[in-house]
């Protein structure tokens, strides 16, 4: 690591430096040059930010051919640090034998930590790239199963990312 000595403040400035004027002109050149650089602002409602696959948006349930992968093991509800997930299991005739009768995420409690996604043995709950969450009441913020389902095609990028990086 590079070490720095004590800060030495130069006292013997020339008259021109003491007058500040060349230094002020340097500063002005910089700010005026800055004015013509491109801006970083995106005009929000018209221009939407497209998150990378590593982005943790709202959690969703993955569906394959219209059926959710979830087997209602309850691990996500167990690991959730803010107790936002509620799962009730039921039996089904399909291969997976169990399915969630009720799967509810309280989006006011969710902190987007991604623990549910990490703990899920079926890769059934993952974080999507959806970040626009607006509610006008407490009830609206309770996302039931029908609002959480998303098909594998919609979540392709995230699923691919999870496979490559886990």
């Amino acid at each position: 690591m590079k070490t720095y000595g004590p800060i030495i403040r130069k006292k013997d400035l020339t008259l021109l430096q003491k007058s500040y004027i060349p230094e002020i002109l340097k500063g002005l050149r910089m700010t005026i040059g800055q004015m013509f650089k491109p801006t970083f602002t995106s005009q929000f409602p018209e221009e939407r930010f497209k998150p990378e696959p590593s982005f943790r948006g709202r959690p969703v349930l993955v569906t394959e051919q219209g059926v959710e992968r979830c087997v209602a093991c309850g691990l996500c509800a167990r690991v959730c640090p803010s107790l936002a997930i509620e799962v009730q299991a039921g039996e089904t005739e399909l291969m997976k034998e169990r399915y969630p009768v009720k799967f509810e995420i309280n989006m006011l409690r969710c902190i987007f930590c991604g623990f549910c996604e990490e703990v899920c043995p079926e890769e059934a709950i993952i974080m999507s790239n959806d970040y626009l969450l607006v509610f006008s009441s407490q009830e609206e913020a309770l996302f039931g199963k029908e609002r959480l389902l998303k098909s594998t095609e919609e979540l392709k990028e995230r699923l691919e990312f999870l496979r490559n990086h886990r």
């Binding site: 004027i21 002020i24 002005l28 800055q34 013509f36 650089k37 801006t39 970083f40």
Partner: protein, 347 residues
């Protein structure tokens, strides 16, 4: 004074007040916000109207609708008076500024200056010293320690810088030997050796620099904005002001910036003089319109300079402010007029 000249005078006053307050100050506020945004690689307000043109008017509507809060222990009368003093002083400055030579309309020769007085510059200096009252009374009447400190700082700062401002003007007065601003501009329309325009900036470079620095201090703009230093004094003298009373202080600040720019242009940058064009033989009416336009462009450029400087230079410490005011600016201004006097004596 006959009726027609009275109507002309009223028309001039209305046009200037409308131009300065509505277009000038409002557009300066918008320019400040957008230029600062561009400097910081943002966009700034651009939603209300094309390019955000109507934004300042939306702000005014918002300010007018707001509740007017007066602190319990405040002196109500003085609290109401302070913003009125500020804005009226800022606007009265424009009375003596020649924004063009003269224009011929309906067969009458109209001088493009509201008050054609003999004591132009003295009036200006008198007004800037009254301007201190707006700020210091606002600080005093709010009954708030931050406001009071802001007001005190402002009075100390303005008194210190008024000296060097007045002294840097003396050089201009000596070479033009008149206090009338329209005469001073007319003297600047000549040329050195027929090429370089005889603007006072070339005759008085030191005076120009000290005057501009003092103008920054007089308008409480950034390198000298200690009266409203946000990190230390909340809002300074206008901490306790809400709604349109705050808006008046805000408009007064920008009206002051425009006024200082206009005065600087008039005294040092040739006023409405557009070099070389007056020799081309254009018809006098178009020439006077061109001169008004020249004056406006010069003022706008100087206002933009004020804005860019605000976003470039950090604030002085109070001891640095006083050091520069008394130990640097004052001697330089005195040296400037002494040198001017010696040159005039031995030439």
């Amino acid at each position: 004074m006959d009726l027609i000249s009275l109507i002309i005078l009223l028309a001039k006053i209305l046009i200037i007040m409308f131009g300065v307050l509505v277009l000038g100050a409002a557009m300066a506020v918008l320019a400040e916000r957008r230029v600062s945004a561009f400097i910081q690689e943002r966009l700034g307000p651009n939603r209300v109207g094309p390019g955000g043109i109507i934004q300042p008017f939306a702000d005014v509507v918002k300010l007018v609708m707001k509740e007017d809060i007066v602190p319990v222990q405040a002196n109500r009368f003085i609290h109401d008076m302070a913003p009125i003093i500020s804005i009226s002083v800022a606007l009265s400055t424009f009375a003596i500024i020649p924004f063009g030579n003269s224009i011929e309309l309906f067969g009458r020769q109209i001088k493009l200056i509201i008050a054609d007085v003999d004591i132009g510059i003295l009036y200006l200096l008198a007004l800037t010293s009254i301007g201190v009252y707006g700020v210091s009374l606002a600080g005093w009447s709010s009954n708030n320690k931050y406001s009071l400190l802001g007001g005190l700082r402002s009075s100390a700062q303005l008194i210190s810088y008024e000296l060097s401002m007045g002294l840097s003007l003396i050089g201009v007065l000596m070479i033009s030997s008149t206090l009338r601003l329209d005469r001073i501009v007319l003297l600047q329309t000549e040329y050195f050796w027929g090429i370089i325009p005889k603007w006072n900036i070339f005759l008085q470079p030191l005076g120009f620099i000290t005057f501009v620095i003092a103008a920054f201090a007089e308008t409480n703009r950034l390198p000298f904005d200690l009266p409203e230093a946000e990190p230390e004094l909340v809002g300074g003298y206008h901490t306790e002001y809400t709604g349109m009373k705050f808006g008046l202080f805000f408009l007064a600040e920008y009206a002051n910036v425009i006024a200082s720019s206009a005065v600087t242009v008039t005294l040092f940058l040739g006023g409405w003089h557009l070099p070389y064009v007056d020799q081309l033989g254009i018809s006098p009416f178009i020439l006077s319109l061109l001169q008004i336009l020249t004056f406006l462009v010069k003022v706008i450029l100087l206002v933009l300079f004020f804005i860019v400087v605000r976003w470039t230079i950090p604030r002085f410490r109070y001891d640095q402010l006083m050091h520069i005011g008394w130990k640097v600016m004052l001697p330089v201004a005195i040296a400037n007029f002494l040198i001017t006097g010696l040159i005039m004596l031995f030439r």
